[in-house]
């Protein structure tokens, strides 16, 4: 019995996504095809990457209110610098990742509230994005465009990308030794420090990873939309928080699941299109995301209650 509950954390997101997918297929059988599935999940890829970025921050018990602005910025860099001057573009993106790591170290060193620092940084990222790309436009580098729109045999690109993201993040955060220590920082920072680890470097590493995934999210987004603007991904901030929670993650205790986070992002994307197939008005798309979030969290509460009673 315990074994089953020990896996409920990932079971619940999987079941929610599967139920939603089945319902969608039932409503609209035409989506049950190569192109249908690709259409349903296409825009989920950048969201999944942004969600993994948010997860890296939550892993060390912080929260990032700047993910959306940061992804917008990296999208703008991708659509301009990376396209026009690839070397400079890569350099700028690397600097942005480093900036994230520095932000993590500063938050830890000065014991600042992450929520306010990232709030301030969201203005900074937004400003830089406007600076780079004052009006919507730019163009996607050709290789990126062809990668995001490629049509691999049998399985659509959106699915392949999601699986790859989930696998890489899982290896990095769950399987690897350093990922384990990073989760340990969220679980019991004191005992990690007592064992001789430099917590400030671990925090910087977690933030750096978040920056890396944020960069990838911006690139993936431009590959899909072929252009960018400074506000293109602002809603990712809230979506990424919701995605992590939906995927079984928690704000405290270093309890995160990369696979769950990707599934959470897919569920939120699917929830938006689902109701349009129900022939309900598209007005309710955003509300459906909120509703599904609440329902899944309610289900999780039932599971955890039973779990504590058993154990």
């Amino acid at each position: 019995m315990r074994r089953l509950f020990s896996r409920y954390r990932i079971l619940l997101p999987v079941v929610s996504l599967a139920l939603l997918l089945v319902a969608t297929f039932y409503m609209q059988p035409r989506t049950m095809s190569y192109f249908g599935v690709n259409l349903l999940f296409n825009l989920a890829v950048p969201i999944a990457l942004a969600t993994v970025a948010q997860m890296c921050i939550m892993m060390v018990e912080d929260i990032d209110l700047s993910v959306g602005a940061f992804v917008s910025l990296t999208a703008c860099v991708t659509a301009t610098l990376l396209n026009d001057q690839p070397v400079l573009g890569v350099g700028v993106l690397a600097c942005l990742v480093a900036a994230y790591a520095v932000m993590g170290a500063v938050i830890h060193r000065l014991e600042l509230p992450a929520i306010v620092v990232t709030l301030g940084m969201s203005f900074v990222w937004g400003g830089l994005a406007l600076f780079i790309l004052p009006t919507p436009g730019g163009a996607s580098p050709g290789w990126l465009r062809s990668m995001m729109t490629s049509t691999p045999p049998m399985v659509p690109m959106a699915v392949v990308a999601s699986v790859v993201i989930a696998t890489v993040a899982h290896l990095l955060v769950v399987r690897s030794g350093i990922g384990t220590v990073l989760r340990g920082v969220g679980g019991n920072a004191r005992s990690v420090a007592r064992a001789g680890w430099p917590v400030i470097r671990l925090k910087a590493l977690a933030y750096g990873l978040a920056g890396l995934f944020g960069v990838l999210a911006g690139m993936a987004l431009v590959g899909l939309t072929t252009s960018a603007d400074a506000n293109i991904a602002l809603r990712y901030t809230l979506l990424s928080i919701a995605g992590v929670i939906l995927g079984g993650g928690e704000f405290t205790g270093g309890k995160v699941s990369p696979v769950g986070a990707v599934i959470g992002a897919l569920t939120l994307t699917l929830a938006a299109s689902f109701l349009s197939f129900l022939r309900l008005s598209p007005d309710w798309q955003i509300g459906a995301q909120g509703g599904i979030l609440i329902i899944v969290l309610m289900a999780r509460l039932l599971f955890t209650r039973r779990n504590t009673r058993d154990g």
């Binding site: 030794g177 340990g184 679980g187 064992a195 270093g254 309890k255």
Partner: protein, 476 residues
């Protein structure tokens, strides 16, 4: 075994080590050496200096004076010398699996395949220490029961982790283990010492200490009062050595007429009107939880009352008592604001008058009640918390070890005030880690392992009686 102990260099040697916290000498000049093959049983009552000694040995605290050396290894730090500690508070990461927790304290595990190596190492250690343990190394720690967590923690303490384990400090290792598993640990510790390791074993189960130790160290008031081979002790002798034998002139509480019963809980705690009820036993055996449970169950988080049924005096001031951003004045008045309100607004002149009155009655040493609460010394902060509670009209006062870090003069004043209030018909439930305080009560409940192990009244309230009930005497 004893021959080994004589021959080799000590693993750790303390020379006249002392540690003071402010005016308190927690460790008062202790010299001690632990050799390979020894198992040192460490006993003493609350505040005897056991945990300070342990922290000085494992490098967690630097001694104020004296030396700590590691002659056997020649190392500079306890970690390099192979000294490990298994603490009473859980120091595992609850979100990681058993094997992953080993990774946290063993940074040598890296590269591909570290997971398999970690699993093998922790499983091997668990199998050796607790044969038939039934713990899956891939379960996350938060899903384990409390006993299993403690077993994992002990196993990580004894696991090789790429170096020689020379000394393992076990602080109450069996507090949540059942008898059969505790026996396994005792057997393993003996075996570990026979192979040249050393252990410091702290426990309130005297039977276990006798079973496992080769030598017993008794501490009292920061000093070592007895240090002899185990055969030189009897159980009675051990209890006597822990107590203040000379102090037998405490005034027994005068028998008074008490009112009807006003408190009665499911776990057996009871008090009558005007009674001072003591809660005793070793720290962390459920007294604080019982009091918090009682208080939270009696009062409401949804409705404030002008006439509360119960008030709480916190002992852990930072966690439970002090509102750190506020001046002394507001810290006193927070519990009684509704007594002098006008249409929901605070009557500030009445508030100032009340706080000024209590400043004199309880003797809070400050120039100005508008100063921040943190400008006060610990003892004076505690007086503020007493004033907050006593200023209310509540008939029952619950006190959770309120005399921590309070000087003697203050204590005497507060004792007198408690007596006076009790005579006027207030009921006190008073948890204290200091036995002489508990001895002033009308009735004492002694806690052990989260339950009441004895109820003492009248002449039966003695230090010896409390010690007997706090420590498990029989082999079980």
């Amino acid at each position: 075994m004893s021959t080994v102990a004589q021959d080799s260099a000590p693993i750790v040697a303390l020379t006249d080590a002392a540690k003071s916290f402010g005016a308190v000498r927690a460790l008062d000049g202790v010299s001690l050496s632990i050799r390979p093959g020894e198992c040192l049983g460490l006993v003493g009552h609350n505040g005897a200096g056991k945990s300070t000694l342990v922290n000085v040995v494992n490098g967690g605290l630097a001694p104020t004076s004296g030396r700590v050396d590691f002659p056997a290894s020649g190392a500079d730090t306890a970690l390099v010398a192979g000294v490990r500690s298994v603490f009473q508070e859980l120091s595992l990461c609850p979100n990681l699996t058993v094997a992953e927790n080993l990774r946290i304290s063993h940074s040598g595990l890296c590269g591909p395949g570290w997971r398999r190596a970690a699993r093998a190492e922790i499983a091997r250690t668990l199998d050796t220490v607790f044969p038939g343990h039934g713990i899956d190394t891939e379960t996350t720690v938060e899903e384990l029961g409390i006993a299993e967590r403690q077993m994992v923690e002990i196993a990580i303490g004894f696991a090789p982790r790429g170096q020689d384990v020379r000394l393992v400090i076990l602080d109450e290792p069996t507090s949540s283990l059942d008898a059969a598993i505790a026996d396994q640990l005792v057997v393993y510790v003996r075996q570990f010492c026979a192979q040249g390791g050393a252990v410091i074993f702290i426990s309130h189960m005297l039977g276990e200490v006798f079973a496992v130790a080769s030598r017993i160290l008794v501490m009292r008031d920061g000093k070592v009062v007895a240090d002899r081979p185990v055969a030189a002790f009897t159980r009675q002798g051990l209890v006597d050595a822990m107590g203040h034998v000379a102090d037998d002139d405490t005034v027994a509480a005068v028998t008074r007429d008490l009112g009807p019963e006003v408190v009665r809980t499911d776990d057996g705690l009871a008090a009558r009107k005007g009674e001072v009820v003591g809660l005793s036993g070793l720290a962390g055996h459920g007294q604080a939880r019982a009091l918090a449970h009682l208080y939270l169950g009696t009062t409401s988080a949804w409705r404030g009352r002008r006439d509360p049924k119960m008030v709480f005096v916190a002992g852990d001031r930072t966690r439970d008592g002090i509102l750190p951003l506020w001046p002394i004045l507001r810290n006193i008045s927070i519990g009684v604001l509704q007594q002098f309100s006008r249409r929901g607004l605070v009557d500030r002149s009445a508030e100032t008058a009340l706080a000024g009155d209590w400043k004199h009655r309880i003797g809070i040493r400050t120039g100005d009640l508008a100063n921040n609460i943190l400008s006060l010394s610990g003892g004076n902060q505690q007086k503020v918390l007493f004033a907050r509670a006593l200023a209310s009209t509540a008939p029952v006062v619950v006190m959770d070890d309120p005399m921590r870090g309070v000087d003697v003069g203050t204590k005497q004043g507060v004792y007198a005030m408690i007596r006076a209030e009790a005579a006027k018909g207030r009921t006190f439930l008073w948890y204290s880690t200091e036995t002489d305080e508990v001895c002033q009560c009308d009735r004492v409940f002694v806690f052990r392992n989260g339950r009441i192990s004895a109820e003492l009244t009248g002449d039966a309230i003695t230090e010896e009686g409390i010690l007997r009930a706090s420590f498990e005497m029989q082999d079980d």
